[in-house]
Amino acid sequence: MKILTQACLATLLLVGSSSCFLSRADIQQPISPQVVTALEPGVHTAVDVVERLGAPSEVVQLGHRSAYRYEYQRNKTTGMFLFIVGLQGVDQRSDRVWVFFDEQDKLTHVAATFEAENSEFELPFLGEDD
């Protein structure tokens, strides 16, 4: 009887969860941490940074100074349809680098975060609670 019940439940689960999907989207190119670490404030210029990292995603003017943003984004989406219930979880993480320049386009600061690799496939009720 127990085996029959388990078989029925397994069949119901199999039929009911026949619509599952995983999706991954990468936006822009990955940023090399080694290249970012090698950037030296006071030494490198905006030209050096663009030669190494390419065209920025965004340029912000700060008076006579400026800041460039570089970003690589990874989105992972998990979905499941179970009979009458749809579940979907989206985890979006980025590698983001801001580089700041003075009036002479000399690099002054580098701010970097690398967390795109931490993006995970997770159903909504399984995600970590904050």
Binding site: V60, W98, D105, H109
Partner: protein
């Protein structure tokens, strides 16, 4: 098999970015902390905006979860009633650090990310002829 036509529900969750610990924010001293110290602790901000002769750096992360339930009740041969209920918890929060022109922390604020973005000045576009490599 007709059940999905009468009743359906969904539960969605969106996570964007990693949350930073409150202690990191609390430890940053206004008037003392340099931008170098701040970005070493907090990493790259979500956005940067001009603020007077200095700049606002805004960090943010988002945890949104919500569910939706819809039911359809037949009322006759050609009529039916639909009832839907949805609830979304919005958890986009963040911090704004304002720096003066010497890149010293002038003020800090925490709150809902949308409000922080609205309070901060809009990004200025580069005028024509600006220096870009």
């Amino acid at each position: 098999m007709l059940l999905p036509g009468c009743l359906s529900g969904s539960y969605n969750r969106v996570d964007r970015g990693a949350e930073r610990a409150d202690t990191l924010f609390a430890d940053l001293r206004v008037g003392e902390a340099s931008m170098q110290q701040c970005v070493e602790v907090l990493g790259a901000p979500l956005t940067v905006r001009e603020s007077g002769s200095g700049a606002d750096l805004i960090w943010g992360w988002e945890r949104n979860a919500g569910f939706n339930v819809t039911t359809s009740i037949p009322l006759g041969h050609s009529a039916s009633a639909n009832v839907a209920y949805s609830k979304v918890s919005r958890g986009a929060r963040g911090w704004t650090l304002r720096f003066d022109q010497d890149w010293t922390l002038q003020s800090k604020r925490e709150g809902r990310l949308q409000e922080l973005l609205e309070m901060s000045s809009q990004p200025s576009s580069l005028p024509e002829g600006s220096r870009t490599p």
